[in-house]
Symmetry: C2
Subunit: 308 residues, 2 copies
Amino acid sequence: MKNEIRIFSPATVANVACGFDVLGFCLDSQGDEMVIRKTKEKGIKITYIEGYDLPYETDKNVAGVAALAMYENAKPDCGFEIEIYKRIKPGSGIGSSAASAVGSVFGMNELLGKPYNKTQLTYFAMKGEALASKSEHADNLAPAIFGGFTLVKSTLPLDILQIPTPTELYATIIHPQIEIKTSEAREILPKNIPLKDAIAQWANVGSLVHALHISDYKLIHRSLQDIIVEPYRKQLIPHFDDVKFSAMEAGALGCAISGSGPSIFTLNKGIEIAKNVKDAMSLIYSKTNIDFDIHISKINTQGIKIIN
Amino acid sequence: MKNEIRIFSPATVANVACGFDVLGFCLDSQGDEMVIRKTKEKGIKITYIEGYDLPYETDKNVAGVAALAMYENAKPDCGFEIEIYKRIKPGSGIGSSAASAVGSVFGMNELLGKPYNKTQLTYFAMKGEALASKSEHADNLAPAIFGGFTLVKSTLPLDILQIPTPTELYATIIHPQIEIKTSEAREILPKNIPLKDAIAQWANVGSLVHALHISDYKLIHRSLQDIIVEPYRKQLIPHFDDVKFSAMEAGALGCAISGSGPSIFTLNKGIEIAKNVKDAMSLIYSKTNIDFDIHISKINTQGIKIIN
């Protein structure tokens, strides 16, 4: 058995317009790299961090906390060192903390001979995610671990479903370089919502799941609507309406806030439309003084993986 | 082309636990029969009603109003007579008015050479349904016309999806002979609901649609939950909790109010469990002074049909 592996831990899009807190999908274009190494000395140590300024203390680092949760359960006769090559900017809204949390537990599980299944890995990773977002949720973790589209049916008990991915789907994700605190994005939401809006939203969740099963792109388009969360959160993202309008004009199937933002994602049928959408979205922020990154990504149906 | 047809217009279950106002499925065991006849004389006439005391005036009868909506659109060079052999008790919560509305427009469409598709038929039938329930909705109409499980993604524009039906599913439906007014069942519901409950509900809608696609009976079981509507409406149905408890103990996959009640449905894997559930549910009402009907039904994947 190997003593060291290098992994690619992907970025993810949570909520997917209609599926606030339950739906997510996995990206190919962006992700962290991490090295996990078995050591004789017991315990979990973070030995190297590159890319962003994150804490080395195991119990203050998302990857460390997730690793500790699993380590305390597994009680292995060894320890682990973690190196983090952080490529996903923290706070960008594409599952940066989830990638860290998932990376350590996936890597350790591989080095221990896979004692845990993917749902169990998600459970441990939730402990790390909770450090970043103050609540245990799995809507970024699940797609990072399982790949493709996932539906977190419940977190207690943890119940994760894998929804099929139509082959021609491409995502375009733009990250305007502004800061939104997850806590602020949470607080802006109402505690109660109109029943009639909830009905429209669960109709869209049901139809999106159906559309993904039968690869009906027009139905994906009709389902990618968020009347509950977007009206509140879009206020936190300058030019959101313009970006969305231009993306839809360019042929996107749907456009919505990724996670709690500020990233904005689209889903598109085919790479050509994804490129047109990329140009259209870029044009909006190019006219402002807001810096941005933009990526096109195939939906990553594999999820987190070992690399060389 | 025939001048007269006899049709079977099936009973249906709306809401299906988690899918309030959007999901429904079609029954085999109960339904109205109707005869639709072409006449030289123009206009729509209801010439015979058997079973229940319903108005003969076309514009006061659900089947008549639906027929008129289609007739005014089609402007055919003939008229129609409608005979109604009402078998589904009005107010039972299994789509009695929907069956009437669907029957007339389906029958007329057949006799005219099928100028309309199923969604268009649903649109006309909604006009009849509105007479009965004071609002245009399609959650009973859609399964009656399309068969199987349906999801009404929206009513404006009308967008109906057919969800696959796992082959081993059987419904048991008990109808306690009490009266619930649809208006009362509507008024008892809150205008606003907690966001966290809505999230749980749309997770269940998504997972039920997924479960129906992959014939995962255990997931159907886990998805058939209604935390939004049932807590309010069950107060209108004596012994609901006992019936549900006994049905679940007997092996039902799920048990909930059919439409706005008072009928209660279960879904079950296989006819044997459906029979056990029937016995268990019957036992509860047998101990009371409330009369009841109870039926076992395969899910009717064909929907409304011509009979001899």
